[in-house]
């Protein structure tokens, strides 16, 4: 046990992150099910309005900062980046362990805020409600999220330095796997956006704790200034959540189409473009908040510009599949689910970027459905796809393919039934974050709650058969999927220093025409 808590091996730290994040995901998921049960009926009959407000706030805080942001970078990224770079470990192993401890400290603080009575400000902490009018444990939760931010900055630092300084001999930038490209773009955002959130959270604590007027309008402060700062972090933060998912899908689709990625340079460049443009569009959250007309038009234009690289990625994935040899394994089903639902999520984002349309749809269930489509439909599918794809490499064992496919299809259907009704609720004008709602929205809400139960079941399945595979799964061998990444050239699970002899990279990372045939077929359950 002590060796695990003081390890500097990036693989063990990744597994520590996996365990902690899964606990937070389960907690966030349970809160979500209670919210959906409450919303199945029009009145606040399961929980009171105050409790409901605390529930949706905690669901937001836990899911955003303690699951979505760290999920792929801190688990898959920590485990795979050194392997994909042919390096024994990340640049600063001890900083990596420190990031996990800070993450756990942040989690403990946030949980203690929850136990002490929870917070009811929404994960956005809008002022002057959060600083002056809320009577919940804001300072405690704010410090918890601050520590989670610090932890993600440490991870970002590690990835940037490792990608620059620890690439294998012969591995030029254009020979990097696309997953490494997306991790690099993500860590640029992690390092450059999180400090704005960190300072903002401290300012909330200073204003609320020490009674120093900063954002309170009554004292010359400006709530809109708070919103500028919050969204300057939070929009790049949604790209922190989605870019690694795109990186995973850019690994899965070539592997299971048995062909090179279509437009490698375009996909890599679009990751960087999304990271850079992501910093310029935050104002589209404030179209109706009283932002000047001039600023709103500029932000609307830039928001459309940032959608172009995302479009390039989706079409490039389709190009990869064209005339490939498609092999519908569980990771591939999750990848295709990602592509489909990310297109819907991205499209509804465009609707919200249109100024006139946003006036009607802002702060309604349409927005709730939009970001859940991208987070649950996109990001979570990619995370599960990556989890199944690299599970043999991490555990050395194969999971049951049949159960994997059942869970994937179940999640896809459950997702559609849960969130498509919410799009219609939004256009009909139901504001978000409402504990009770008028009668006429009852039908669609109960439909959505039914879908949520399927989703909850769908998430339990992978937990079961993946853990079972640790005991009953067949040994997977070094390269069950016949993939071409450096991580498949070493044993599963890899030895402590990853490679017996540091690999030499002479060819591009997706040489599928000459890649070894997958051995997984013979192992099929």
């Amino acid at each position: 046990m002590r060796s695990w808590l003081t390890t500097t091996d990036h693989k063990r730290i990744a597994l520590l992150y996996l365990g902690t994040m899964t606990l937070f995901f389960v907690l966030g998921g349970l809160i979500a099910t209670v919210i959906r049960l409450e919303l199945a009926t029009a009145a606040s009959d399961l929980v009171t309005a105050e409790t409901y407000n605390r529930l949706f706030t905690l669901h937001g805080v836990i899911m955003v900062w303690f699951f979505l942001i760290p999920s792929i970078p801190a688990f898959l990224g920590n485990y795979l980046l050194p392997l994909m770079l042919g390096a024994p470990d990340l640049a600063f192993p001890r900083l990596n362990l420190a990031s996990w401890y800070v993450f756990v400290a942040g989690g403990v603080l946030t949980l203690s805020a929850m136990i002490a009575g929870g917070i009811d400000t929404g994960w956005t902490f809008y002022t002057p409600y959060s600083t002056t009018f809320s009577d919940s444990h804001v300072v405690l939760a704010v410090l918890g999220v601050f520590l989670a931010g610090v932890s993600s900055v440490f991870t970002g630092l590690n990835f940037i330095v490792s990608t620059h300084r620890l690439r294998a001999p012969g591995q030029t930038w254009m020979r990097l796997p696309l997953f490494v490209w997306s991790l690099y773009a993500t860590s640029l955002i992690l390092v450059l956006a999180t400090p704005v959130l960190a300072m903002l959270l401290l300012l909330i604590a200073v204003e609320r704790g020490l009674q120093i007027g900063i954002f309170d309008p009554g004292v010359g402060g400006s709530p809109l200034l708070f919103q500028h700062f919050f969204w300057f972090y939070s929009h790049p933060a949604v790209y922190i959540m989605i870019l690694p998912g795109m990186g995973v899908v850019s690994e899965l689709i070539p592997c299971f189409s048995r062909s090179r990625p279509f437009g490698y340079g375009f996909i890599a460049a679009s990751s960087l473009a999304i990271a850079v443009f992501g910093f310029l569009v935050w104002g589209h959250h404030m179209f109706v908040a009283g932002q000047s007309y001039f600023a709103s038009v500029v932000f609307s234009f830039l928001s459309f510009a940032v959608a172009v690289p995302s479009g390039v990625k989706v079409f490039s994935w389709l190009g990869t599949m064209r005339r490939g040899a498609i092999w519908l394994t569980t990771p591939m089903i999750y990848a295709l689910g990602f592509v489909g639902l990310f297109t819907i999520g991205g499209g509804t984002g465009l609707a919200l970027a249109m100024l006139a349309v946003d006036v009607h749809l802002h702060d309604t269930y349409f927005v709730v459905a939009h970001f859940h489509t991208i987070m649950v439909g996109g990001m979570l599918m990619a995370y599960l796809g990556g989890l199944h794809f690299w599970w043999p490499k991490i555990s050395g064992r194969m999971y049951s393919e049949r159960w994997g496919r059942i869970a994937a299809y179940l999640l896809f259907v459950g997702f559609l039934l849960t969130f498509l009704p919410q799009f219609v609720l939004g256009t009909q004008g139901l504001p978000r974050r409402t504990a009770s709602y008028p009668e006429e929205y009852q039908f669609l809400q109960s439909l959505s709650s039914a879908g949520a139960t399927i989703l909850a079941l769908g998430y339990v399945l992978p937990g079961v058969y993946l853990l079972l595979s640790l005991v009953r799964g067949r040994p997977a061998g070094d390269n069950p999927w016949g993939a071409t990444g450096l991580e498949w050239h070493t044993t599963s699970p890899p030895p402590p220093h990853n490679f017996a002899v540091p690999p030499l990279v002479l060819v591009d990372p997706y040489d599928y025409p000459r890649a070894p045939q997958p051995t997984a077929e013979a192992l099929d359950a």
């Binding site: 990340l90 600063f92 002056t132 900055v153 300072m199 204003e207 120093i212 004292v219 010359g220």
Partner: protein, 211 residues
């Protein structure tokens, strides 16, 4: 003799470059961390310029000039310390680090004296926030002043703690096995904290004259 090389690096130069890149990425992040405070300053200044005209002169620009000079000299001694670390001049390193710490401590002492002075004159940032605040006033300006200089002072304090631990390690390690890279990293951090003050100084202390 180069530093002893840690796990993933080929040689000490490779390791030094990596630490430099990591440190600069960390300082890039700090630029935005303090950047929020400077945007807050600009927002208050654009929306309530009369506050700066009214309460700017209350800040003692003479003391601030001395504090700026103190920090600049401490940056100078820190740069020398980094040079001595890499050339293994252990005694000179100890002296340079001690000088840097002394100047940093002097800066903090002046800062605390200034705070006490403001508190004594009732120029405090605290305000009754029961939602019906009395509108922008002295507490807004001094709120800005205390938050900006407060976060900077905390960073100076943090720097002093790290410098002290660096000094102890240098004291206990024979020149042969002394690692220079940590001194470089601490040096970068210390210079950055000085740069933040270079912008804080005109913004706050000369603000009154700038309206």
């Amino acid at each position: 003799m180069p530093d002893d090389v840690r796990e993933p690096f080929a040689d000490s130069q490779h390791q030094r470059d990596a630490v430099a890149l990591g440190m600069w990425a960390f300082l890039g992040q700090e630029v935005l961390f303090f950047g929020v405070l400077f945007v807050f300053y600009t927002s208050l200044r654009v929306r309530h310029p009369e506050l700066f005209a009214a309460y700017g002169p209350r800040l003692d620009w003479r003391l601030a000039t001395i504090m700026t000079a103190t920090l600049l000299v401490s940056s100078f001694t820190m740069a020398l310390a980094v040079r001595f670390a890499f050339t293994r001049a252990r005694r000179a390193l100890l002296v340079a680090l001690a000088a840097t710490m002394a100047l940093g401590a002097a800066f903090l002492a002046m800062k605390l004296w200034e705070y006490a002075h403001h508190f004594a004159r009732g120029e405090t940032p605290f305000v009754d926030l029961a939602g019906n605040g009395p509108g922008p006033g002295p507490h807004s300006f001094f709120g800005l002043y205390f938050v900006l200089t407060g976060f900077h002072a905390l960073h100076v304090l943090g720097g002093l703690v790290v410098l002290a631990s660096l000094w102890l390690v240098a004291w206990r390690t024979p020149a042969a096995r002394l690692r220079a890279t940590p001194t470089m990293a601490v040096g970068l951090y210390w210079h950055f904290v000085d740069i933040v003050w270079l912008f804080l100084f005109p913004a706050l202390y000369l603000a009154a004259r700038l309206t």
